[in-house]
Symmetry: C2
Subunit: 421 residues, 2 copies
């Protein structure tokens, strides 16, 4: 784990408002920033996939998207007949599946899976799909990448975390995230307590604001929740809160100061997620780490956020941002700047499993990763265990079986059908 | 038409490199920029749809996406039974259609079409679809908006340009855009000459670079093309060129200087489209107007580009950016800054027709709009004329019939079927 703060922020706070741009330190800051940007660009250009143990080509023979009962899968098959699987998010893929057969699969079939680092860049040129960057395209590509990583793992015998550079830990702690905005502060506290009791989590997160806006009621609830959650869990609990783009800059600073008073761990997405300069203004005014990046689709904008200290925790979504390899590039940039990555992940579509492989292969992360249980309605087991993937005593342990170490029920898989086109 | 240049750029060029940030004018520039940003934000918040003549509610009763032979349509029907239609781009909608039934239609059915300005914002909250912003989501929403605007027009008897604030001209000039990168410079010149002869266009555009990169061959071709196209058409022709994100900053400046030498009208997308600060660096170094924004999905980033003079021509794609109303908000910001909007539009899916309604209702645009002919393989006529929508003597004349003034062949429409889900 690395420190959240970087010194420039403290330095800027010592200067009177508006003076930074005129003061001598601005020259140093500008030079520092240029040097940092160059290092970030170098970092995000490095290949991620460790192919050192992959001696033979693994040629992708078939890529299919299949479904039943609203559940979507990607299956990757190599010319030797090995298969890799990925489960998709049933809340997203029904709206995005058509991208897969038209803009992703045709390009990747016939390619050597060991070239995955360049494939996830070059596929963007296929039918000018670089114009399609954003959640729907990246989700379809990310699920394809997961199936290909699983295929490489099945073929080579390596677990996915080894392909991502090797694990630096065997398990990760989780924070339990509550997504409610409709109920009272007391209701949220009760639910968090129940989730903590069930999962053993030693960190929690809850929602602030009204999602992209505030209301009088949401503000009253915010002011009640921030002290109340701390009072309910005591000093030992790590507590985060997520505003989902709700505030303007002054309100974000006001709520952030309250969070500082109650020793919160980070403040997620205080203002509109694409308002990068305003996010930096909030970060510059506060000492609590600002977290963000869930909706971000551009490596350049992550570079900007990191180089400008607009966030102190980067949170690419492992799926919306286009997969584990692209998210590892963000992790590499964060490491250069001395800050942590805490990826965003939705629980559906085996989110916790894919996230655990990623987080166990990343050095610069915190003690707690997002967790919302095991809500998938698909029969599977972690290979060789007969068990599903769930937190125990607040921790998720990464499987060491080939690929992602998941085995879907073969009877269930036999009922899958190709997606319509 | 407004001037392309703004004075700040010239001012910055008088200062030694790196000095601007420390010099007294920086304070004034910073204050000016804050004031401009506030004006831009006010401008983009104004409603676009002119509902002054719409006395009765127009309640959306049904929204359907229908297709045949790879052609996709949106049909909007109000409770009184009037219908509006939009044709989609057959190169895009086969990959994006699933967004429509899952994330757009269910929210809009039952709403009053006269609230279109708020509907295109609020639909983003439906199933947290704000996370989906980008070409696939916006294209599905934009085609829905076109069908709804057509519906409002059919119900009220008003042409679409009147709903967009009223036409300020009856016709627009076109520039003929050639998209080739595979053939020789001579081949491009020959094709441009043929297109100009056929369309009567008095402006042309061609491609530079190799699309998101350069090669030795593409650079040699660029250096040949820039003088050759000018020599082929003489001083009276307006000439633009589009690099599609090919260059880094130094190469963009080198090619831009060559374009200045040959009096080119604008330089489109010189560096990676999401590299906004690098785009501004290119703009600051050159006097030729920089054009960009085709891939942009965020109003905030258009605000940034305009406030920072990163571009001198804004080019939201009328479809990829989410429709005519959202693009009008960009036009309103551009007007505040004294610059022009020249929207990007693909030719397929009646692009020229929809663009002409938009451009005839916008004051701050240039004399030339993008045009690539009438390639749609769908039987239609401009209502009451028996003719298709094509440039004559280099101009496109906006229809005054209700809605977009297009009538699709009823026999053809009878063969449509709902998209699969």
């Amino acid at each position: 784990m690395t420190r959240h703060r970087i010194d420039r922020r403290q330095l800027l706070k010592l200067l009177p408002a508006g003076a930074a741009v005129l003061a001598a330190p601005a020259v140093a800051a500008s030079t520092d920033r240029s040097a940092l940007k160059a290092r970030l660009r170098e970092a995000r250009g490095r290949p991620v996939l460790d192919r050192s143990a992959l001696d033979e080509p693994i040629v992708i023979d078939r890529l299919e998207m299949l479904r039943r009962d609203g559940q979507y899968f990607v299956r990757a098959t190599c010319t030797e007949g090995a298969t890799g699987w990925a489960l998709c998010n049933p809340g997203r893929m029904p709206s995005a599946f058509a991208i897969f057969p038209n803009r992703i699969a045709p390009y990747l079939v016939g390619k050597d899976a060991r070239d995955l680092d360049t494939l996830v860049d070059d596929v963007l040129l296929y039918r000018s799909s670089y114009k399609w960057q954003g959640l729907p395209y990246w989700s379809a590509l990310a699920r394809t990448e997961l199936a290909i990583l699983d295929l490489i793992g099945q073929r080579s015998g390596l677990p996915a975390h080894a392909l991502l550079g090797g694990k630096v830990r065997d398990s990760i702690g989780v924070y339990y995230a509550n997504g409610d905005r409709k109920h009272s502060a007391d209701w949220v506290v009760d639910r968090l307590k129940a989730s903590v009791a069930e999962s053993g989590a030693r960190a929690v997160k809850f929602k602030l604001g009204a999602r992209l806006r505030t209301t009088a009621a949401s503000t009253a609830r915010d002011l009640e929740l921030v002290p109340k959650v701390r009072d309910a869990f005591g000093d030992e609990m790590t507590i985060y809160a997520d505003a989902n783009s709700s505030y303007d800059v002054p309100e974000a600073i006001r709520i952030g100061r309250l969070m500082e008073e109650y020793d919160y761990g980070f403040f997620e997405e205080p203002v509109r997620f694409d308002y990068l300069e305003e996010t930096r203004e909030v970060a510059d005014a506060l000492s609590i780490p600002i977290a963000g990046g869930e909706q971000e689709s551009s490596l350049w904008r992550f570079e900007w956020m990191i180089a400008n200290a607009a966030v102190q925790i980067v949170q690419p979504d492992l799926i919306y941002f286009g997969g584990l390899l692209r998210s590892m590039r963000v992790a590499a940039m964060a490491r250069e700047a001395g800050i942590d990555i805490v990826p965003h992940i939705s629980p559906m579509g085996l989110g916790a499993l894919y996230m655990t492989h990623f987080a166990c292969a990343v050095g610069n992360t915190t003690d707690f990763q997002e967790y919302k249980g095991d809500p998938d309605e698909v029969p599977y087991e972690i290979a060789g265990t007969g068990e599903r993937f769930r937190a125990k005593d607040g921790r998720l342990t990464v499987p060491d079986a080939p690929g992602f170490g998941v085995r879907f029920d073969p009877d269930y898989l036999r009922g899958l059908e190709p997606v319509p086109t």
